[in-house]
Symmetry: C2
Subunit: 254 residues, 2 copies
Amino acid sequence: MGLPKLVKDRKSPRGDAGQRTVASDSICFDEFERLVGVTKRDLYRETLAAHRKVIRIKGDERAIRNLERIFDAALRISNASGFQAMSMRRLSKEAGLSMGALYAYFSSKDELLTMLQDQGRGIASRILSDRIQASADPLSKLRTGVRTHLYLTESMHAWFFFSYMEAKNLTGPEREKAVRSELQTEAVFEEILREGQEQGIFMDKDRRLTASVIKALVQDWYLKRWKYRQRNISVDRYADHILEMVENFVVRQK
Amino acid sequence: MGLPKLVKDRKSPRGDAGQRTVASDSICFDEFERLVGVTKRDLYRETLAAHRKVIRIKGDERAIRNLERIFDAALRISNASGFQAMSMRRLSKEAGLSMGALYAYFSSKDELLTMLQDQGRGIASRILSDRIQASADPLSKLRTGVRTHLYLTESMHAWFFFSYMEAKNLTGPEREKAVRSELQTEAVFEEILREGQEQGIFMDKDRRLTASVIKALVQDWYLKRWKYRQRNISVDRYADHILEMVENFVVRQK
DNA sequence: GTCTATATACGGATAGAC
DNA sequence: GTCTATCCGTATATAGAC
């Protein structure tokens, strides 16, 4: 779609940052950010493109700037006290636009919810798939998959948190999209495990259940971010820890 | 506290139910339910006792019966679409009481939230601690801890789900209580790991991080219950799977 | 104790001036 | 394009009958 290529270059030589014990074939978060660069502007540009017809603003620049204000404020308020509890008055205040101006960017609070939900999905799953496919063997796919997912949630934390917490309040097609997205990410890990088992590199554990568990571990990172931050656990440290655990469990020992 | 002793008897001989690979020293869910029997009535009786002064109902029996209706309906509606989105009108309808009658059991919607939040905490942490302390060595404490937590979330699923999802919308002392409770459960697992390391049974992994990860795995069971149910994964199967993974990671091999 | 009816406020959304 | 002022529905909470 009309998005600048986000995954610019797929390999970096990397001299390891130090105490890493596992998965030394993978990049660390700093490199990820430099390389992939999921910028807000890219996100908002894509959102604008997707909803061009309902947004009654002519110039792209102004539209993107205001979308950024609106969405940032909406995610901030919602993540602190729930989307339902967020009043449009407060949103208008914190976004720095009047009520009337707000409604030039969506036609109802419900549509705003849809826009927020849709926002990150495409970009996140695209980056994940791209980076996994760029890896050669199942083990490095596993490592890249876990790390990339963690790094994505770090770059787009507010969106992932919102997306998770508000999912259960969705109805109809929006709910289905959310469920499908959840299952699809899981399927990505399941497929990696299948490949590994086929090649005899991984042990014959229940693939689907193992994939669910991997997803749970990855999700905990953004669900309990306050806790990990308080304890000064970096995303790389967390990645190392859960990868060690997962590899212990699935990789066949020589 | 004024609650009938819930953990009646700590041991059952048990002849294993079959394909269990790990943790065969622990009871299964059916036995747990029979043994521990966290009944709704116990829960509501305790809630009533804790809020006796604000509840303007004389007889205990009637009060408990109505509390049960109210709370069941409140959890059902909230877990489907959020506490904030639940109107008192709808609650009154689904609980089978009029608006006026509802307000005899609490003085505001906010107080209802507090009551719901408080409800399960005491009972859950008490059962968890009791059963862990009844185990002898660190390994069986670990197994019992994980299983008991999973079984508790199975018996009181609606409450655990509600408690998790609405926690972020709390403010002031209620929020603090929720955070403390989360950290306290984690500390229980951390302590088990410490004991195990001290005795040389467990490996020297980061205890706190490992405890966090164990908690994440346990929580996923009730957060994604729809998914596991759809796939016919029983709580015992899930318990076996994550215990195998955790033990692989922490138990020192002979 | 429980009901129906209602007071009062706040929510989302829009009209019309600039 | 953005603002202010306002419409109107629905929310919480309570008063008063039975």
